[in-house]
């Protein structure tokens, strides 16, 4: 079976891997690059567990064919923190108990980051619709929404301080 050699940037690092053309980007990230943080919940774009950023835009990696990644910049959950320095979203998720089993958490963090990057001061409704593509079965979304709100507050106060 032939495999295509794909070059792209993953979490800021030039990366390459081999994959059959029918392989999803999700499977390539997990199986070829060992980045198991991105999860498969449904494989059909209905749950958001596989959410990644492609050139800064939120996507379901299960719907992307691996060769489409050529030349693109991919961000996964593994690329959100800066070493031990967590992104405010990761911190507020932990402090606010916005995860119970944690399987949906990577997808939510990527989606919430995309949301706040585009809309730094979202209303509760905007957060809920912006995250409607991410299913959670444990939390009922309450603490997730609150964690995103709290992260928005922190990010806005940081940026106001010119940090």
């Amino acid at each position: 079976m032939s495999r295509t050699h794909i070059n792209c940037i993953v979490n800021g690092e030039p990366t390459d891997f081999l994959a059959a053309d029918a392989t999803s980007l999700l499977d390539a990230l997990r199986d070829e690059l060992g980045l198991i943080g991105t999860k498969e919940g449904c494989g059909t774009g209905d749950c958001g567990s596989c959410s990644v950023l492609v050139d800064g835009k939120l996507n379901c990696s299960c719907l992307i064919l691996a060769p489409e990644a050529e030349g693109r910049e991919i961000t996964t959950v593994e690329g959100i923190a800066d070493g031990d320095q967590l992104h405010p979203l990761q911190q507020t998720f932990l402090e606010g108990a916005a995860l119970q089993c944690g399987i949906c958490t990577p997808g939510f963090l990527v989606a919430a980051k995309a949301l706040l990057d585009a809309n730094p001061d979202p209303t509760e409704t905007e957060i809920r619709y912006g995250l409607a593509g991410n299913l959670c079965r444990c939390t009922g979304y309450d603490k997730i929404v609150r964690a995103v709100q709290e992260a928005a507050v922190q990010l806005n106060s940081t940026s106001k301080q010119g940090v």
């Binding site: 079976m1 919940g41 209905d46 967590l86 995860l99 399987i103 619709y129 444990c138 939390t139 009922g140």
Partner: protein
């Protein structure tokens, strides 16, 4: 969101530390069932029955075996024949059919190949010849006279030996004189209800990797109980427990659905045959077609009441459809009836088999169905009597000593406190928002104890490891650490709680029945208390005093005979562990128990909602969940259980259902058309934790995980009645069904 009662001033219990496993989960390092890859591993894929009921005439795997990358194939013949009376017979047959397929999606063969794509292609090349048999697809069909047998191995439990039947249980409960009480009642309401199958809906599909070597299956999987995975897998393989080791992965949701096995013995056998590790992950479609939903139900409830609001009698008929294998859903449904005094009670309940997937537990199994019906009828009674729905319930609420439907007296319980907390809440005291209407309902779950073991090891520097065998499905590791911190008197962040594999910790039952914080917590506390005795003895040696003069206070040994001051100079835990070698060796303790005294948890929910009368859509505007947690060890995770259960119940109420075609195949086997709530469907879920401590637990814990799913359907149904005058009786209350009922008004 604060507790209304805080019986004791704890230092750690009741606080909200960041969970110890949290960092790995937010940076993508935590490993769930599908996140382990072993060198040289193969991928497994299943062949599944396209028929709801069929005899397997033959299976020809030769074409599949010849395909590229295929290294092993298994069918039911590869597994030892178990006696049909063996407790895991049904599990074994459900994992892989033996000559008869019992539902559309039933696994009949499996292949292992070098890649997922090759395995999938090979599975499609397995040729199975079926002889289609009559299928039973509904409760009514199952219970009809002369119905074909869904499963010829099923016999009614707890009954004299007899012919095979479609009924797994028949339960009859009777107390007082129901017929007389109904005749004497001023108000009698009788209604029929039904519920479709729903799935637990965990976001993580089932997954495992099994590496078979030296006669032993080394299993990596996520589950709610790896000791059960071990024993079930061993039974299916026909080997001793010591020939199966199970390492627990993080689990991405279970809610009862991962208290059984589907994959592990199959992967083990494929690994044995191929000589390579085998990884199997279910697709979402397979999860919905091949793993256990909650039962469906048909219920008829009749309640009689006096004009001053005493609920004097209940007469109930409940039948649960559980798929193609034996189950006790009907019996458990009867056990779940426990919220009101009901001096006169009759319950006739059934568990009925159908040729659909084998039901698995789902959060307070059977109770949501029963509460849907009973709480709807209680609401009707309140309306007819002109009584406030909370007041009616307060008048009849079960208290300590009152009997459940099964005739068991309640221990100390908190239903009254929960009802009063809702009544006093900001939600209930406020008018519903413009255009919205209100409903409330009660839920109960009995919770269980069962067996747990815990080991607590003190490190040389005074930090501690707390080792249990309870998979953490909602933050229980944090709760174990909190209880250990409280007992030992040390900082919760100096404690490392882990879930160890089946070879590294004592036997521990499944994380189900809301038992982990209760039973495993008890074991952790006992182990810590054992350590305290050891620490005191070491301290006595160090201090040169008699051990009887040593007390343990705030994480230190104190003795009047040691140094100056009232308690003397304390010797901290770390100071003692630093001298462990000199005073006798490492400080460790283990406790194990079969926990008694699990405290039931009551919940009371309230919803304000709007109904779009032109489309039948329901919008929930405000939702409050009140629940008795006994003592909230980690309030954030208690709130989380309450909110999660509420939203699962809301999904069950509004849009979730299995849609079967006439051939018994599920039509909506995807997250697109099996519709669980999304974030934009919901408001914030307000929570009120009531604490009526359970006297049988050192910190008063009641299990909280399950009750939250019990009230929501009736809560919403009661609000819809208030909004529209229509009493919905069929779940889900999806827009087409609501609109149809509105049209008929």
């Amino acid at each position: 969101m604060t507790a209304t009662e805080n019986p004791t001033n704890y230092k750690w219990v009741g606080t909200r530390p960041i969970r110890h496993d949290g960092f790995d989960k937010v940076v993508g390092k935590a490993r769930f069932g599908a996140d382990l890859n072993l060198p040289g591993q193969l991928h497994g894929a299943f062949v599944r029955s396209p028929h709801a009921h069929a005899r397997i005439v033959s299976i020809d795997t030769s074409a599949a075996e010849a395909m590229p990358g295929v290294k092993a194939v298994v069918t039911g013949d590869d597994f030892p024949a178990l006696d049909p009376t063996h407790p895991n017979y049904d599990t074994a047959v459900n994992c892989m059919a033996r000559g008869e397929a019992f539902y559309h999606g039933h696994a009949v063969a499996a292949v292992a190949a070098t890649t997922k794509a090759e395995a999938k292609a090979a599975a499609a090349a397995v040729e199975v010849e079926y002889e289609v048999l009559p299928a039973v697809l509904s409760i009514a069909d199952s219970m009809a006279d002369g119905a074909p047998l869904a499963n010829p191995n099923n016999h009614t439990k707890f009954a004299p030996p007899g012919d095979p039947s479609n009924l797994a249980t028949i339960t009859n409960l009777d107390r007082g004189d129901v017929d007389q009480a109904m005749a004497d009642a001023d108000v009698v309401v009788e209604m029929g209800f039904d519920c479709a199958h729903v799935h637990q809906g965990y976001i993580e599909p089932h997954a495992c990797v099994v590496d078979y070597g030296d006669g032993k299956a080394n299993v990596w999987c996520s589950s709610q109980g790896h000791f059960r995975v071990r024993s079930m897998t061993a039974d299916v393989l026909g080997v001793d427990n010591s020939k199966v080791k199970v390492v627990p992965a993080e689990i991405g949701g279970g809610f009862g659905g991962k208290t059984t096995i589907y994959l592990e013995p199959i992967a083990a056998k494929l690994s044995e045959k191929s000589g390579k590790p085998v990884k199997i992950t279910m697709t979402r479609e397979e999860v919905l077609r091949g793993s256990g939903p909650a039962p469906s139900a048909e219920l008829r409830i009749k309640i009689g009441a006096t004009k001053d609001g005493e609920l004097t009698a209940i007469d109930g008929w409940m039948a649960y459809g559980v798929g193609a294998f034996s189950d006790m859903a009907g019996l458990i449904g009867a056990m779940s009836v426990a919220s009101y005094k009901f001096p006169n009670l009759r319950m006739e309940t059934y568990t009925a088999l159908t040729n659909t997937p084998k039901s698995a537990a789902y959060r307070a199994p059977s109770a949501p169905h029963a509460a849907w019906a009973i709480e709807s009828v209680v609401d009707e009674v309140a309306t007819e009597l002109g009584m406030d729905p909370i007041d009616l319930r307060l008048k009849n609420a079960a208290v300590e000593g009152d009997l459940t439907a099964m005739g068991m007296p309640h221990p100390r319980v908190g239903l009254v406190e929960c009802l009063e907390a809702l009544k006093a809440s900001d939600h209930y005291q406020s008018e519903p928002a413009e255009g919205s209407s209100r409903g409330m309902a009660v839920g109960f779950w009995f919770n269980i104890g069962e067996e747990s073991s815990a080991t607590v090891n003190l490190n040389e520097d005074g930090t501690a490891n707390v080792i249990t065998g309870s998979p953490d499905i909602g933050g229980s590791r944090a709760s174990m650490a909190l209880m250990a911190a409280e007992t030992l008197g040390i900082d919760v962040y100096s404690i490392t709680p882990i879930v160890a594999d089946t070879e590294s910790v004592g036997f521990t039952d499944v994380t189900e029945g809301s038992r982990a914080t209760f039973a495993t917590g008890k074991a952790v506390v006992e182990a810590c208390e054992d350590l305290i005795e050891q620490l005191k003895a070491r301290a006595a040696t160090i201090m040169g005093v008699d051990v009887g003069e040593v007390a343990w206070v705030d994480g230190a040994a104190v003795s009047p005979g040691h140094g100056g001051g009232e308690g003397g100079d304390p010797l901290t835990l770390a100071q003692i562990t630093a001298q462990a070698k000199r005073t006798g060796g490492p400080l460790t303790a283990t406790a194990s128990l079969n926990a008694a005294g699990a405290g039931p948890s009551f919940a009371v929910h309230c919803a304000d909602l709007k109904v779009d009368e032109e489309t039948g859509e329901i919008e929930i505007v405000r939702y409050t969940a009140v629940q008795d947690a006994g003592t909230a060890i980690h309030p954030s995770y208690v709130e989380g259980q309450m909110q999660g259960g509420s939203v699962q119940g809301i999904g069950w109420a509004l849009n979730e259902e299995y849609i079967y075609n006439a051939d018994g195949a599920m039509e909506n086997a995807s997250f697109l058309d099996y519709r669980i709530p999304v974030a934009s469907d919901l408001p914030l879920i307000e929570t009120i934790i009531v604490e009526v401590p359970n006297p049988a637990h050192p910190y008063g814990v009641r299990g909280v995980g399950e009750t939250g799913i019990v009230p929501p359907m009736a809560t919403i149904g009661n609000a819809v009645k208030a909004a529209t005058g229509v009493r919905m009786t069929s779940l889900p209350m999806s827009p087409p069904k609501v609109l149809k009922r509105l049209n008929e008004r």
